[in-house]
Point group: C2
Chain length 448, copies 2
C-alpha cells in the first residue's frame, strides 16, 4: 500500500505570514473568538485531518502592534472545539516550565474524556524572559535545566495518566460499588523536580493515554523528542534537512527502545495556493508586501539575538555576531533554519526575510493544488516525513483552498484517508497504546 500521509493543521491565529491579517477579506480579529477555531476544526474534520493544533506561550507577544498572536489558552479553546466536533484530534501546547504535572495531566485527561479520546499534549519548555517573568522568575531557566525538568515532567504526567486501570469505574448500584479502588494506584513520584502523590482524579483515557507531542530541535530537544514524542513537529526547509532530522530522531528513539512506527515526524509546511502558478506567486508577493519591513527587521534581529543596527536590508547577515545554533539559547528552531538558509543560498537580509515570509522558519510551498500535493507526496514517499504540520499562509482562506483542492488531490492519489477508521487521535495516527507499568500500590481507602 502507498505510504499514507498524516495531516495536522496549526491554527496559528490569522495565518503564518506576518501580514496575513491584512489580506483583503480576512477578519483581523477572528482568532480572538470561538467561531474561528470551531469553523477550521470542522473543516479539518470534514477533510479527515488527523488533528488541529494550537501553539502557545504564556506571555504577550511584543510584536502585537503589528500582527495577531496566539492569545487564548489552548486547553480551554480545544474543549470548546471538542464540543463542536466528533472525530478530529485536538493537540494543545502547555509549558513544562511554568505548570505543575498534576494540573497538566488533569487538563489533558479531562479534554480526553470530553472528546472521547482525541487529546494530545504538545510539551514545550518555553523559551524567553517574558514568560519567566510572569511566573516569578527573573529570567528563563537554563536551557539544559528546562529540558531536564521537561523529561521528568512528562514522566510524572504519564504516571498519573496510568494511575487508573481501564474499567476502574464500575457504577454497580446493587453491589454498592461506585469505583473499584483496587484498580486505582498511587503515583508516589519522588524526583529531582517533582514530588507527586497521585493518583490522578480523572479516569484512564479512552485512547489509553493522550498523545504526547514534542518539537525539539536543539541537542537537548532532539533527545527529549526521541524519548517521549509520539508526534514530533520539526522545521525543515530542504529535503536534506528533513532527512537528517527524520533519521536522527528515529535512531535516537531506538535508543530508548522505541520503534520507528512509535514516532511520527511531521515537518511544518506553509502553503500558498493558487489555481495557477502565477496566481499563487501573486498571492505570495502580496503577503510579503503586507509585512511592514521595519517590523520584519526588528523581529529578525530579536530572533537572531543581534542588534537591530547590524541588519541592513541589502547586506548579508552579520556572521561575526552569530553563535552556533546549539549555543544560542531561546527558540532554536527558527534560528537554525534562518542561519542555515542564509548561509546556503548566500541571501541578503531582504532575500532572507522574503524567503521566511515573515513566518516561523518553516518550508513554504507556493503553487497549484497539484504542486502542493506533489511536494507532500515527495517527502513522504522518500521517507523523510510521515506527513505534515500544515501552516496555511492565511486563515481561514488558505486552509479552505487546501481542504477544497489539495485534500481531494491527495485522496485521488490514494495517500490520504477518505474517511476515519478510528474514533481517537491515537487511532488516526496508528499509534499503539503505550505500555506503562502500573504500580502495585492502590489508593488508600478511608473505608476499609
Amino acid at each position: 500500500m502507498t505510504r499514507q500521509v498524516h495531516l495536522n493543521v496549526n491554527i496559528l491565529n490569522a495565518g503564518v505570514f506576518g501580514g496575513s491579517w491584512r489580506l483583503p477579506g480576512t477578519d483581523p480579529l477572528a482568532s480572538f473568538g470561538l467561531a474561528h477555531y470551531v469553523d477550521i476544526a470542522r473543516k479539518a474534520e470534514a477533510a479527515k485531518f488527523d488533528a488541529v493544533f494550537l501553539a502557545d506561550g504564556p506571555a504577550i507577544r511584543e510584536d502585537l502592534r503589528y500582527r495577531p498572536f496566539n492569545s487564548l489558552e489552548p486547553s480551554v479553546v480545544l474543549a470548546a472545539v471538542a464540543a463542536s466536533t466528533s472525530r478530529i484530534g485536538l493537540i494543545g501546547t502547555l509549558s513544562s516550565s511554568y505548570n505543575d504535572p498534576y494540573d497538566v495531566a488533569r487538563r489533558f485527561a479531562t479534554l480526553d474524556q470530553l472528546s472521547g479520546g482525541r487529546s494530545g499534549w504538545n510539551v514545550v519548555t518555553t523559551a524567553g524572559r517574558q514568560s519567566a517573568r510572569n511566573f516569578g522568575f527573573d529570567d528563563e531557566p537554563d536551557h539544559g535545566r528546562r529540558y531536564e525538568r521537561a523529561a521528568e515532567f512528562v514522566e510524572v504526567v504519564r504516571k498519573l495518566w496510568n494511575s487508573w486501570e481501564p474499567d476502574a469505574l464500575v457504577g454497580d448500584k446493587s453491589g454498592q460499588v461506585f469505583a473499584d479502588t483496587t484498580r486505582i494506584h498511587r503515583t508516589d513520584h519522588h524526583g529531582e523536580h517533582f514530588d507527586v502523590a497521585g493518583p490522578l482524579n480523572v479516569p484512564r483515557s479512552p485512547q489509553g493515554e493522550p498523545v504526547v507531542v514534542q518539537a525539539g530541535a536543539s541537542r537537548d530537544g532532539r533527545a527529549l523528542a526521541a524519548r517521549v514524542g509520539e508526534v514530533i513537529f520539526t522545521a525543515a526547509q530542504t529535503e536534506d534537512e528533513a532527512r537528517e532530522y527524520y533519521h536522527d530522531v528515529k535512531a535516537r528513539a531506538r535508543g530508548y527502545g522505541r520503534g520507528p512506527e512509535d514516532v511520527i515526524v511531521l515537518p511544518g509546511l506553509s502553503t500558498v495556493i493558487g489555481s495557477t502558478e502565477a496566481e499563487a506567486r501573486e498571492r505570495r508577493e502580496l503577503l510579503a508586501e503586507l509585512v511592514p519591513p521595519e517590523y520584519a527587521l526588528d523581529r529578525l534581529a530579536g530572533q537572531l539575538g543581534v542588534p537591530r543596527e547590524s541588519l541592513v536590508l541589502d547586506g548579508s547577515l552579520p556572521w561575526e555576531l552569530l553563535a552556533d545554533p546549539d549555543d544560542a539559547g531561546g527558540s532554536q528552531t527558527f534560528y537554525k533554519i534562518a542561519v542555515s538558509l542564509a548561509r546556503r543560498e548566500s541571501l541578503t537580509v531582504r532575500q532572507l526575510l522574503r524567503r521566511l515570509g515573515g513566518g516561523a522558519g518553516h518550508r513554504i510551498v507556493t503553487g497549484t493544488p497539484e504542486q502542493i500535493a506533489d511536494a507532500i507526496v515527495d517527502w513522504v514517499d522518500k521517507g523523510v516525513a510521515d506527513g505534515f504540520n500544515l501552516m496555511p499562509d492565511v486563515l481561514p482562506s488558505g486552509f479552505d483552498d487546501f481542504v477544497d483542492h489539495v485534500v481531494p488531490e491527495l485522496q485521488r492519489r490514494g495517500v490520504f484517508r477518505t474517511d476515519y477508521d478510528s474514533t481517537t487521535l491515537r487511532g488516526h495516527l496508528g499509534l499503539a497504546a503505550p505500555h506503562h507499568a502500573i504500580p502495585s500500590s492502590h489508593v488508600e481507602q478511608v473505608v476499609a
Copy 2:
C-alpha cells in the same frame, strides 16, 4: 418591584446526596462525560438561571469506592459548555494554593472571550493533605497562610485582567496597527507571594472582568469573601444562620469600600421535590437508604476529625473531642454546620446523618414545587439571601423537576426573570464592572 431571586445550579456530579447515583433511572457514570454538563447547562439556560457552577479539588476523593466525585477539570468542562450555550453564566473553581495567578487569569479570560463575557472564577484555598501532596507539599499550608496567599492571588489576577484597556485590539489594516499597545499595560506586581510582570496575553473581558466568587466560612474566609467576593456561596441551615452570615459579610464588605449591591450572597439549597409532600418525603427516605451507613459514618468521622470508633449510630456526638470550628482546620463550612445542627437539636449520630442527607451540610428543603418556591421566596424577602446556589438531590432528575415545576412557580410570583436582559454573567447578576486603576506604564515594544 418584588425582590428578585438569583439562581445558580451546582452540577455536583450525580447530585448532592451520597446515594444519588444509585437511584433507579440515574446513569451512575454520567458525570464523567460531556453530555451531562451540556444537558444540565442547556436546561438551566432555558430556565433563565444566572449560572452553572462546578466545585473542584485537585485530588482524588478517597470515598470514590462509594460515590462519584467531581473528577473533570472545571475550566476545560466549562469551555465545552460555553460552546453549547449562549447566555448562561459559567462559574468554575480553581485553587489559589496550587496554581499560578497568570495561568488562572488567562484560563478564565479565555473562557470569557469564548463565551462572550459569561465566566466566573470561584476562588478556593483547597483544604486537605491529599491535594497538597499532588503539588510537592507534605501537608496543606497553614490555614491563615493559605488565605493570605489567596488575597494576593486575587489581587494579581485582577491586575492582569485590567492590564488591557477596552478596544486595545484595533485590527487597522490600512494603518498597519494590529493592537494599540499604549492601551496595554504592564502589571509589575511584586508582593509577598507573587512577582508577575504581565501584561496578560488575553484582551479585556467582554464583561469588564470575569466575576469573582468566594465561599469563605471561617474568620479568614469571611474576610476574603467580603474583600473580593462578588458572589458569595455559603451554607446555612436556618434563617438565623443565614441572617447572621448575610449581615456580617455585607458589613465586612462595607469595610472594604464595597456596597451591599456589590456582594451577592447565595446560600446552598438542596431540594427534594415531589408532586405531593408525601412523594417528596418518600424520595428523601429512599435517598437516605441508598447511602451505605458504614460509608456515612466514616465520612462523618473524617469531616469532624474524630476517630471512627467514637461515633455510634444511636449515640450523641463525642463532644469532648470536638474543637471550636474556627480552630478545626480543613474545610470549615461542613464542620460548623454539622456541629451546630447536632448541638441545637440534640441529634444522635444517626439523626444527624439523616439530616445532612449524606450531603455537604447545606440546607435541604423537601416538598412540593410550591413549598420549595415558598422556602426560596421567604429568605429572599426577609433579606437573608440574594438567591440560592441550587444543589439538586439527584442529577439530572432533581434538576429537571426544579426547572419544570419550581421555576415557573417563581416566575408566576414575579420573583424570577422570564427572559435574560443581559448577555453576560455580570449583567445577569446586576453587578457593576469593577473599577480598577489602570497603571500608567505600557507594554515595552520591540519596535519603537
